[in-house]
């Protein structure tokens, strides 16, 4: 029966709106969003930065440093995937293709127009962002597994186009580029300088992820992730934000792709196919998409595990599968969540011993 009292109706609608906002606030306040104490965050960031900066000086050899570079540029791509999956809840299994868009854009600009690393970089990133947005258009109508299938199809299509693209894409043989254009006094042919270049990009990716995660924009994305209908009902432009985060993710992927190109100095379609994409999805789930260091942890685990344990590719895949199962069962938020839980448990134990009042504001 329709209500006849207009004022009562308005009050009711207003109350519903407030309830919806409260629910939304509760939903977005998940465990991952509960921050660690500022001191712990700062110490972790400083220790990590010092470790990463000091790595070339530890005498671990060129092999180690080479794998470290691979890990870092992979992590940059993962930060994009982490944003779209961890913050907005949009999973992709075609992310390597987005990296490929950046890498190929840069390589084609180099081969066709003679543009170097620095000049082609913004164009490549922009193109990856645009392509990310275009692939994201279906997310406005479909979500979940449907979108995942779309990204997989994009990945397959991308490889087919590259493989049959003639001299423009280098076909299956691929394209070659020169070294990164040197900056005054810095030659990037030197492996340690190349490492610092990729590390600088990683720091940018980390900073951007941190800022987005702790901004109003990040909270909006989490609201969409948790309950899209509810977010829409409180006036959030869900479509715009979804496309926005996919474009940001594309920017990260483009940056990672260009860094990968100039590290390998030769690319071919197989680098951006289904398997590399699945590995990226695996890494982000292993590390924990919702945690700041989750993508980096995922990249480290997957790139260094075969090296440390001397696993062949078959054993590696088995190991990754087992790790993923263990993470899903025991650490649903990924290894990043596990580390945080261990820290909280240890801290809680100390607090109990000390009367439970220390260390909390």
């Amino acid at each position: 029966m329709p209500m006849t009292d207009n004022s009562a109706g308005k009050t009711g609608a207003a109350t519903e709106g407030v309830r919806a906002r409260d629910r939304l606030a509760l939903l977005t306040a998940d465990n991952a969003a509960v921050p660690l104490p500022a001191g712990v965050q700062a110490i972790t960031a400083i220790l990590l930065a010092v470790l990463l900066i000091a790595l070339p000086w530890l005498g671990l050899g060129y092999r180690f440093l080479s794998i470290a570079i691979t890990t870092l540029y992979t992590a940059i791509g993962l930060y994009g995937l982490g944003l779209q999956f961890g913050q907005a809840g949009i999973m992709s299994v075609g992310h390597a293709a987005l990296m490929g868009v950046g890498a190929y854009a840069s390589a084609i600009l180099s081969v066709q127009l003679g543009l170097g690393f620095w000049t082609s970089l913004p164009f490549a990133m922009a193109l990856s962002a645009i392509v990310g947005g275009v692939i994201g258009l279906p997310t406005l109508r479909v979500g979940g597994q449907h979108y995942i299938i779309i990204t997989f199809c994009f990945c397959a299509l991308f490889v087919i186009v590259l493989t049959n693209g003639g001299t423009f894409t280098g076909s299956a043989t691929g394209l070659d580029v020169g070294s990164v254009t040197p900056l005054p006094g810095i030659n990037f042919d030197k492996l340690s300088n190349n490492y610092y270049l990729v590390l600088a990009a990683l720091f940018l990716a980390l900073a951007a992820t941190y800022l987005i995660g702790n901004s109003r924009y990040g909270r909006t994305l989490r609201a969409i992730r948790e309950n899209e209908q509810l977010a829409r009902s409180v006036g959030i432009n869900v479509d715009l934000h979804k496309l926005g985060v996919l474009m940001v993710s594309g920017l990260f992927a483009g940056l990672a792709g260009v860094l990968q190109l100039y590290y390998l100095r030769h690319i071919s379609p197989t680098l951006f196919g289904a398997f590399p994409s699945l590995y990226l999805a695996l890494m982000v789930m292993l590390g924990g998409a919702r945690y700041l260091y989750g993508p980096l942890i995922g990249a480290v685990v997957v790139n260094f595990l075969p090296e440390v344990l001397n696993l062949d590719p078959v054993d590696s895949r088995i190991a990754y599968g087992v790790c993923l199962l263990l993470v899903i069962l025991l650490l649903p938020g990924g290894v990043g969540a596990g580390i945080k839980n261990v820290y909280c448990a240890v801290r809680g134990g100390f607090e109990k011993q000390g009367g439970g009042t220390n260390g909390r504001a």
Binding site: R63, G174, L191, D312
Partner: protein
């Protein structure tokens, strides 16, 4: 006085022994990067097998005499896990951490090209078997300041191999068919190597008067029946299963079931594998090896080589013969080092390799590098009698003198 004399004699003997030991300890570090695991393992293992055999034989024969020193080869073998990132890391390690003088490998074009960007600036010689390197080995790349100056392709130029193979296939099949074959279909994997190889092979067949259709299949295909049915509809005289041998072994039985063509050619399938798998066809089937077959070689030195190669524990696979693309070059490199008299002068070694020749196992004609660091030798083609698995007839047709019309030779 006698005691002093005895002491001096003993000291001299000790010094001589120490010098002898020091001389025996001189080692020549050589790297091998190959897939010992992952999807390219069957090709990768052949590089390692060839390197082990060659190094053992050179060392057993006393090593390499360079100047007044004798060097024993010390191999540093790295598994690239069929992963370009691991290949790069391994190349960095071998070049920068270990300081190898030369690297053998890898088995794929992409990996070899990325590796050459590390070996080139470090002036480390690289011997790679990929014929697709021909696409990048040009005047500029191999010049003294070029990025491929230190890279050598240990396989013939693809137009030469394709020409030699096409002639061999047609010479063996033509007498077996009711009328001379006119229509060929080339069935090939659509990846970097497949695209490159087939582009030359199609031209080679056309130069022999064939009308050629090219049908490509996606890499990792296992069910070939839809494409094979399409090929059957084209009514070819010969279906050429071009690259790669592993996929061919899956596709060929499917083609036989479907009765796709009155004759076949299987690239990279050794007669030894055909025999061991007891494959049989009621139509004539030819097969080629890269470069000489281990299963039915007419040359005693090749048979001797494969007896030793398999004797070291190498697996008998469709690509075992690929090991020959790496074996001879160890001896050639050793010969060049001895001639130059220094191991630390890569430019002189490159110059010596380019002006010298070497008669090894891979070819009855001495090997010579051309100005683009490529060699020339023929490919062996064998035909198995219908309804048998072990009755082979083989032919070795020399490569053409020039690329066929439409083939730029690259």
């Amino acid at each position: 006085m006698r005691q002093l004399g005895l002491g001096l004699a003993m000291a001299a003997a000790g010094l001589a022994m120490a010098l002898q030991t020091a001389r025996a300890d001189e080692e020549l570090p050589i790297g091998v990067i190959a897939a010992q695991s992952g999807s390219f393992v069957s090709a990768g293992n052949t590089i390692v097998g060839a390197a082990n055999l060659a190094a053992q034989q050179i060392n057993d024969a006393g090593g390499i005499k360079v100047g007044d020193k004798t060097y024993k080869i010390k191999l540093y073998i790295r598994d690239n896990r069929t992963d370009v990132n691991v290949t790069i890391a391994a190349a960095r390690e071998l070049v920068n951490d270990i300081g190898v003088k030369a690297i053998w490998g890898t088995e794929t074009h992409d990996f070899s090209v990325s590796m050459a960007k590390i070996t080139g600036p470090a002036k480390v010689l690289q011997f790679s078997g990929n014929s697709s390197l021909g696409a990048v080995l040009d005047d500029k790349a191999v010049a003294e300041d070029g990025w491929l100056h230190y890279t050598f392709q240990s396989e013939p130029q693809e137009w030469q191999r394709s020409g030699s193979t096409a002639k061999g296939v047609l010479s063996l099949l033509t007498p077996q068919l009711k009328s001379p074959p006119k229509h060929s279909v080339v069935f090939v994997g659509n990846d970097a190597t497949g695209q490159y190889l087939s582009s030359h092979y199609v031209k080679a067949l056309e130069a022999e008067g064939q009308k050629v259709d090219l049908v490509q299949y996606p890499p990792d295909t296992t069910d070939f029946s839809p494409l094979l049915t399409r090929i059957k509809g084209m009514k070819p005289d010969i279906v050429h299963f071009w690259y790669n041998g592993d996929s061919t072994l899956t596709a060929f039985p499917q083609a036989l079931k479907l009765g796709v063509a009155p004759s076949y050619f299987l690239f990279g399938v050794d007669p030894g594998i055909y025999r061991e798998r007891s494959l049989k066809a009621d139509v004539p089937v030819t097969m080629s090896c890269v470069p000489v077959c281990w299963g039915s070689s007419p040359y005693p030195e090749v048979k001797q080589y494969f007896d030793k190669y398999f004797g070291l524990g190498a697996a008998k696979g469709p690509q075992s013969s690929v090991s020959l693309l790496y074996y001879d070059y160890f001896f050639w490199y050793a010969k060049a080092l001895e001639k130059v008299g220094k191991i630390d002068d890569p430019d002189a070694v490159v110059a010596e390799l380019l002006k010298s020749d070497y008669k090894g196992v891979v070819s009855p004609v001495p090997l010579v590098f051309n100005k683009h660091h490529q060699v020339t030798f023929a490919t062996e083609v064998c035909m198995v009698e219908p309804n048998t698995s072990d009755k082979f007839k083989c032919a070795v047709e020399q490569p053409p003198a020039a690329p066929p019309p439409g083939d730029n030779g690259g």
